[in-house]
C-alpha cells in the first residue's frame, strides 16, 4: 500500500500529540492542576512547545487558553527550553466571566469580593503582608465571622500562602489565574478618573 504524503503523516502525528496534551492539561492528575513542562516533554517529545502552541490556537475558538506560569519571574525575552521545562502549564479561560456566571465557579459574590480585596492588597504591599492587616481590611466589608473562614479558603485554594510568621503571599493559583497588572491598572485607572 502506498504511504500517505509526509505532510499528512506529520499532521496526523501532531493531531495525536494535541489530543494527548489535551488529556494531560485538562485532567487533574496531581494535587494541583496543570502540568510541568518536563512532564509534557516526557509525554509529547521535545517539540512540546509547538504542540502547546497549536493547542492554544485551537482553544482560542472556545475562549480558552494554555497559560504558562514560569518559576520565579517571567523571562524578559523569549523563554528558553530550560524556562519552559520548569514552568507549569494550565488551561484557563481566555476571556473573562460575567458576574452572573460566578456561581458556576462555586463561589459566592462576597467570597470573590474578599478574594479581590486580599489579592489587590498583597500586590500593593510588594507581595507580602501580615495576615492581620488583610483581616482588618476584610472586616471592613465582610462580617467578622466570615473573615477567618474566607482567608483560610483562599489559602486552601492556592490563591494565597501563609508562612510561619503569619505573612501572606500570592500563591500559585493567583499567578496562574489573575492578570495582576490589569487588576492594578484598573484600580488605579478609577483613581485617576476620580481625580480628574
Amino acid at each position: 500500500m502506498e504511504k500517505p504524503p509526509t505532510r499528512l503523516r506529520k499532521k496526523a502525528l501532531y493531531l495525536r500529540k494535541i489530543k494527548r496534551a489535551t488529556h494531560l492539561l485538562f485532567y487533574k492528575r496531581h494535587r494541583k492542576p496543570g502540568v510541568k513542562g518536563w512532564e509534557l516533554k516526557q509525554s509529547l517529545g521535545s517539540d512540546y512547545p509547538k504542540v502547546i502552541q497549536l493547542l492554544d490556537r485551537y482553544l482560542e475558538k472556545l475562549d480558552l487558553q494554555v497559560k504558562t506560569v514560569f518559576e520565579g519571574e517571567k523571562p524578559a525575552e523569549k523563554p528558553t527550553l530550560t524556562h519552559l521545562d520548569t514552568a507549569r502549564f494550565y488551561v484557563t479561560l481566555r476571556g473573562t466571566i460575567a458576574q452572573k456566571e460566578t456561581k458556576l465557579c462555586g463561589w459566592r459574590i462576597d467570597d470573590i469580593a474578599g478574594l479581590a480585596m486580599a489579592i489587590s492588597y498583597v500586590i500593593s504591599k510588594k507581595g507580602k503582608v501580615p495576615r492581620e492587616e488583610v483581616e482588618e481590611l476584610l472586616r471592613d466589608k465582610l462580617p467578622g465571622w466570615r473573615v477567618d473562614i474566607n482567608l483560610d479558603r483562599y489559602i486552601r485554594a492556592g490563591y494565597l500562602a501563609e508562612d510561619k510568621n503569619d505573612q501572606l503571599y500570592l500563591d500559585w493559583r493567583t499567578r496562574a489565574e489573575v492578570d495582576q497588572k490589569a487588576l492594578v491598572d484598573m484600580l488605579l485607572g478609577v483613581e485617576s478618573a476620580e481625580t480628574k
Binding site: F26, Y27, K28, P33, G34, L64, Q65, K67, Y90, V91, T92, L93, R94, G95, T96, I97, A98, Q99, T102, C105, I109, D110, I112, A113, L115, A116, M117, I119, S120, Y121, I123, S124, K125, K126, G127, K128, V129, P130, L137, D140, K141, N165, Q167, R173, A176, E177, V178, D179, Q180, K181, A182, L183, V184, M186, L187, L188, V190, E191
Partner: protein
C-alpha cells in the same frame, strides 16, 4: 515591629554602649559590647525579613562599620559564628532591598497607600467587576475513566466480605487475671537479676575463660546451647564493650573476632573516637558455630 521601632533599635546601640561602660577590663568590655551589638544586628535583620517592614530602614553602612569595628576582637569559634551569622542576615536584608528596588521598577509598582486607599474606598460591586475582568480561572476536569472503573471492579471482586476479613484479624480472647513475677521472668518481660548484676557476672566469666594471651574467640564466648541464649549473651557483651569492660580485636583478613577483657573498666572510651562494630548473630552463623563445636 513597626518601621519606627527598627530605627529605634539602631539608635539603642550607642545608648547601650554608654550604659555598659562599667567595671569590666577594657578588652573584655569591648568584646561583650561587640557580642551584644552583633546579636541586636541579627535580631533587627530577622525582623526586617519576617515582619516585612521597609528594608531600607536598616542602615547597611552603619552596620558594616559596627561589624568591622569588632571583628579584630573575635578569637573563639562562637564569636566567629556570631559574626558570620550577622553578615549572613545582613546579606538577606540587602537581598530584600534589591527585591524592593526591582519591584518599584516593574510596571506592577504602585504607591501602596494610594492602592490601599482605593481598595478601601471602592464598593464591593466595583471591586468584583475589576477583579472579574482580570480573572481567568483554571479549567480542570475530575472524571473517572473506563480504565479506572475496570481496575476498581477487579479490586472489588477480589475483596473478601467484611465479616470474613474481620474474622481473620480478630484478636484472641483471653481472660483477665493476675500474673506472678516468675511468669514475667519466664516471658522475659522481667529479668531474673538486675542488668548491672548480669553484666558483672558476664565480665567475671569472660575474665576466667580467656587463655594465656588474655583473649578468646568472640563466638566461643557469646555462643550458647540455644540461639535465644546466644542472642542474650551477645546483647550483654555489647554493653561490656561499650562500658569499657572489654574490647574487640578484629582481624579482617582472617575474618576472626576476639574479645579481650580489661582488669578494670577502661576510661578510654570517652577519650578515643568511638566506633560502632556490627557483628552479625544470625541463626545460620550460630548453627555454623554449633556444628563446628560438635566436630
Amino acid at each position: 515591629m513597626t518601621p519606627f521601632s527598627a530605627v529605634y533599635i539602631l539608635h539603642l546601640f550607642n545608648i547601650y554602649e554608654i550604659n555598659e561602660a562599667t567595671t569590666l577590663p577594657p578588652k573584655k568590655r569591648k568584646k561583650k559590647l561587640g557580642e551584644e551589638q552583633l546579636q541586636r544586628i541579627i535580631d533587627l535583620c530577622k525582623s526586617a525579613e519576617e515582619k516585612s517592614f521597609d528594608p531600607f530602614l536598616v542602615d547597611i553602612d552603619d552596620i558594616i562599620n559596627i561589624i568591622q569595628e569588632y571583628f579584630p576582637e573575635w578569637e573563639s569559634m562562637d564569636e566567629f559564628n556570631l559574626d558570620a551569622e550577622a553578615i549572613n542576615r545582613l546579606a538577606s536584608v540587602i537581598k530584600l532591598q534589591s527585591e524592593w528596588v526591582r519591584h518599584r521598577s516593574t510596571s506592577l509598582y504602585t504607591d501602596p497607600f494610594l492602592l490601599e486607599e482605593k481598595i478601601r474606598k471602592l464598593d464591593k460591586e466595583e471591586l468584583i467587576d475589576f477583579f472579574l475582568r482580570a480573572w481567568h480561572p483554571i479549567i480542570e476536569l475530575e472524571q473517572i475513566s473506563l480504565h479506572s472503573l475496570a481496575k476498581a471492579t477487579e479490586y472489588w471482586e477480589s475483596l473478601l466480605p467484611l465479616d470474613e476479613r474481620w474474622l481473620k484479624t480478630k484478636g484472641i480472647e483471653t481472660k483477665l487475671g493476675a500474673t506472678s513475677r516468675e511468669e514475667l521472668i519466664g516471658q522475659r518481660i522481667l529479668l531474673e537479676k538486675a542488668f548491672s548484676e548480669e553484666l558483672a557476672i558476664l565480665w567475671e566469666e569472660l575474665k576466667s575463660k580467656v587463655g594465656e594471651d588474655g583473649r578468646m574467640h568472640y563466638w566461643d564466648f557469646v555462643g550458647a546451647d540455644s540461639y535465644e541464649e546466644t542472642l542474650q549473651r551477645a546483647y550483654l557483651t555489647s554493653f561490656l564493650i561499650t562500658y569499657g569492660y572489654a574490647t574487640l580485636e578484629i582481624y579482617r583478613l582472617e575474618e576472626e573476632v576476639y574479645i579481650r577483657p580489661f582488669e578494670k573498666p577502661s576510661s578510654m572510651v570517652s577519650k578515643k573516637q568511638v566506633v560502632s562494630i556490627p557483628v552479625s548473630i544470625s541463626i545460620e552463623e550460630w548453627e555454623k558455630w554449633k556444628n563446628h563445636q560438635q566436630d
